[in-house]
């Protein structure tokens, strides 16, 4: 990973590119529409800076492609877009295949271990079962939060969460600075 400041600059650049698409296509927008556009372009720009290393970004871009924002995606990603245009689906396919396969394996291993577990059943106490259930519930929530998380196993989920948190922090930082800057400028103009 590069230094955060260079990441921030790259993010800003791509984000502005995305915003330009909106300003050049639609002129009249309501506040909600504008907010959605700003958020989407920021998300995609953030994803585009990490697209080579992380799968959450690919999932995010794939989702944006599906939501009929492909113009924006293409514009933001530029030369990477045509490479990615196939890859999201491939990636999804691969992940789902993996999931099915791992499910099969899981079922098999469950059937083999069930016999053993009957013997050890009394040893396994209630507490650990409850703890396991709690963790399962939280993992599910986390999977729903991280883009593309439904297709990940636990190890890669944690890895992607790490990456995602770092990127989100950068995104928030840049956006806050920009908002502050524009607000102050506006404030000054209001007095004038």
């Amino acid at each position: 990973m590069r230094s955060p400041s260079s990441l921030k600059q790259e993010f800003l650049k791509t984000w502005l590119k995305g915003l330009q698409v909106y300003t050049s296509t639609k002129k009249k927008m309501s506040i909600l529409e504008r907010k959605k556009a700003i958020k989407l372009s920021a998300d995609i720009a953030m994803a585009s800076t990490r697209i080579s290393t992380s799968s959450w970004s690919r999932a995010l871009v794939a989702k944006a492609c599906n939501a009929s924002n492909s113009i924006l995606v293409e514009h933001v990603l530029g030369h990477e877009a045509h490479v990615l245009k196939k890859s999201p689906k491939n990636w999804m396919m691969a992940m789902s295949n993996k999931r099915i396969r791992s499910k099969k394996i899981l079922r098999k291993s469950c059937t083999t271990t069930r016999k053993m577990r009957k013997k050890v059943a009394h040893v396994v106490d209630e507490a650990s079962l409850i703890a396991k259930r709690l963790i399962m519930k939280r993992t599910k929530v986390l999977k729903s939060l991280v883009p593309g998380g439904e297709y990940m196993d636990e190890i890669s989920l944690i890895k992607e969460t790490l990456d995602y948190i770092l990127s989100l922090r950068i995104q928030v930082d840049v956006m806050r600075h920009l908002a502050n800057a524009t607000e102050k400028m506006d404030h000054g103009k209001g007095y004038n």
């Binding site: 990973m1 502005l16 915003l19 330009q20 907010k35 986390l142 928030v172 806050r176 524009t182 400028m185």
Partner: protein, 356 residues
Amino acid sequence: MERIEAIGARSVGCGMVGDEFNRQIGEEIHRLMSVQPESGSSFIALLELPPNQAMELLVHSPEVAVVDNANLTLSGEQFGQCPPLPPALPPIFPSDTALVDRASKFSPIANSDEVLTSKLETVKQEPLDSDSNPNSNSSPAVSNPAVDQNPKSAKRKDREKKGKESNKKSKKPANETSEDGGEKLPYVHVRARRGQATDSHSLAERARREKINARMKLLQELVPGCNKISGTAMVLDEIINHVQALQRQVEFLSMRLATVNPRVDFNFDTLLAAESGSPVESNFHGMITPSMWPEVQLHGNKQQYEQLWHLDGLHQPVWVREEDNSNFITPENSLLTYDSSANSAPLHSNQLKMEL
């Protein structure tokens, strides 16, 4: 790995002898244990050194080699039936490097290294070290009480372990030095303790769990206020909260940006023109900066903004005109028109860069 298992099996084979012999072995084991701390401390001392230096020390330093040889000859005599191992221990190292290489491929931590950021790497060193130390030291502590409690069965396992350990002894330092370089060998990390299953499935499962734990530690370091909490569920809770908070913040900020100024996007566009760096813009940039920026640096933030909005006020009509134009022109044309107003753009970009 295979060799160690083979030797372990051999020691099991020679374990089918009388109780008297077992007792002797127990005493020997105790003696070995008393030797262990000293050599263990030397291992820990080695951990402080950079890997290549430690390796040199291991190969050349006489005391470590002597300790290893002593351990080996002791166990060789004790086991009697077992053919004594070749006393030439240092030559094991070359084969070890191959093993280290191979193991580093399978090492659970080695995979995670490529993903981790430079910032995280410093964090990661801590959990690794704290992991490896108890692991290397815990085995004597576990096996010692076992001798007292359950002489027969425990002893056999113990001896099995002893056989492993005495053969591994010369390898262990090499492994730990390689850990220092960020790699981890699976059988140091995933080694089966007493009473744990040793088939490949449970070993893999254990490796997976270790991997998850290491990453959870990383996440704990990353999320503020999380490193004091114990328990995976609580930590996950905190992580979920953090991610949700960040996502909400993004929502909020985009809302704020949307409401702040209907002209916001327009500002961004001029900024972009500045970033792309057209010749016109650079000319303007050279003209404006000498007059502008020295003053800005002298004055405080408020003055800076005042000057900025003065300029903005000057350029406002230009922008409005452009907005009217861009209603009729295609995006390609609009880029050109933005460039024409680029004299205000460098200011914005500079300001933003200062903010960042």
